[in-house]
Symmetry: C2
Amino acid sequence: MPLLVQKFGGTSLASAEKIHRAARRAIRAKLDGFRVVLVVSAMGDSTNQLIALARAICSNPPKRELDMLLTTGEQVSIALVAMAIDAAGHEAISLTAGQLGLVTDSVHTKSRIQTISRDRIDRELGNGKIVIVAGFQGIDESGEITTMGRGASDTTAAALASVLNAETCEIYTDVDGVYTADPRVVPQAHKIDQISFNTMLELAATGAAVLHSRAIEFAKKFDVPIHVRSSLTDAPGTIIMKETSGMEAISVRGVTLKEDLAFVELNAVPNTAGVAAKIFAEVARNHILVDDIVQNIYESGRLANLGFSTDASDASEARSVCERLIVDLGIGGVEIDEGVSKISAVGVGMRSHTGIAATMFDALSKAKVNIENISTSEIVISCIVQKEDGPRALRIIHDAFGLDEAESSSE
Amino acid sequence: MPLLVQKFGGTSLASAEKIHRAARRAIRAKLDGFRVVLVVSAMGDSTNQLIALARAICSNPPKRELDMLLTTGEQVSIALVAMAIDAAGHEAISLTAGQLGLVTDSVHTKSRIQTISRDRIDRELGNGKIVIVAGFQGIDESGEITTMGRGASDTTAAALASVLNAETCEIYTDVDGVYTADPRVVPQAHKIDQISFNTMLELAATGAAVLHSRAIEFAKKFDVPIHVRSSLTDAPGTIIMKETSGMEAISVRGVTLKEDLAFVELNAVPNTAGVAAKIFAEVARNHILVDDIVQNIYESGRLANLGFSTDASDASEARSVCERLIVDLGIGGVEIDEGVSKISAVGVGMRSHTGIAATMFDALSKAKVNIENISTSEIVISCIVQKEDGPRALRIIHDAFGLDEAESSSE
């Protein structure tokens, strides 16, 4: 019997009526002949409400206790969804990460999945039950409760779909798919019907908030298609899958805006072997997430300017780490700009289509948007700009790459 | 180093300020030289809010899922209290029932403690931490999440105090101790300074809501004094402890009112050996809590009328159980009165002080309160009355036993 994983985000569970709707979708899939596993997030705004409770107690709560607190949100959801399925006359059982056996490392608030046990879930599916799993959470090897970062319920869903060899991992959300740009910023943006794992990975990494990057990584590794679709309609959304032929015709597939970044610039870094490795080892050890890295050398290669972007929320921790590194490694200094955004164009063969970078820089220059840093890869070109320029810059490049005119598209 | 268990109820944790106050009490006890274990309930009204969420989904949620839902309330509290202690510069760690190893049977919503592991709690106390335990919840042997019934955080506290050989189990609440009657019903009621486990057991069993009966049973068995006191002041409350001498002078210690009861009357029950056993075995198997049992025989002992009181919420289940029993055992019929209350006088040597029952019946008769059923024991006399007569009947017997005049008292 084929297996389907369905993930429902917080907005799709924000009321009793929406919970019943999610339950009906799961039941319909079961009646269509699937074994069904649901992964659910915390209801509506409840994670933010729990964070507000914590902030009312203290400004910087211990991360272990924050995980203890936040995981209650998903536990509420699994119980309510199980009740809704039961009320509709079908059998269901809710499972916490601990009951399921979803084991992560011990990095509270930013843990990563290590192993997932199939035993319990297979047993419950074998008994004909719809299984409802709490997203976002895990337990470490000593039974401590962990979380995997905001939005990580997608990762739970994709990881389960991978381990269980699901036919598809459906992600139900409040938008009807992946767009060429965020429609709230770029009104001309349109839905993409199909997109490859790699292109979607870059869209997500550069700011498309519709799906968590690690979810796509899991699905890519195990070749499980992800279907991002609306919880309100039956219309198909965007299918994220293995690359198909005929892609090279389209270069830029979408543009993204990533806000709330800080750019950290280390000046006059001695350009000797191992210095960059030491810097980023220390940054990683402090669990600071690094976005892009840019390095330029000067003084005949003796010195380098080394910059990286990071979440604005990590900026103050990044500053103290860098100030220690300045002393330890003889670095000239550090400057941190906390008010920046990143705009990116994502597609296929960006470097082989030589005109793409030029088109982007030219359009931004004509619109008087100052580019602070540039980084490029095979499928992404990103520019750091001042936060206040971000939305306008996004609209400019969406138009410059001809995305305004395109109809619904697929690779 | 002596050990103190402090339990904080929902009203004592209803805001950030109250959580900080609970944290300060725990820290003060630690600075006074105690190892400290806190047991906490869900914040304020949050258990009722969770029940309302469930009721919005369905009228009769599966009990396993109700436990999954309700245990999140205590999990929120332990995390927030740990954060408050951390913010005050002291070390704390929160533990769920699963992490602690508090194992119950598998009867969802009404489970009972089977074993409590000391390993984890001893290790954390040994590291100098204040340990915060989620009340009300347990896990069964297969890791399913259970709850022990409303008010069972008291039981968690007393059971932990027993297992850990605590010096005292302090129960912080929104009243300043145990009263001769509920002051909201009987304005003349006054606080009791000391009371024996047995008398307190009867007060709780007959309706004094200040403390859960099973909590007193644990404390009695392991001889751990319970101190019921206000979370708002430092004034001493009521100490519940082993009997001391000089008690016989006082007969009635308090009067109680238990509302929301149903009285189940089985008529023309064949009075042969084993019939009553079969009836109550079947009632227990359906997890219907039986309050008092009253039986009278007639027709030269061939038939009996057998009645018992139960929670009004169990009335409909009691009806279907009894209707099956009528057929199986050849019983005449069943009548259930769902709108009754029980008033009780609790004290020491009620039977040896011959006038007590008469005083009670006489006072009620003069006030035209109709007594429906009577049951008595060594330390309790109870009468079932119509619900609307309950509060007035309570005030009448409080006065009739001279409790209106008494000053603060102790056994």
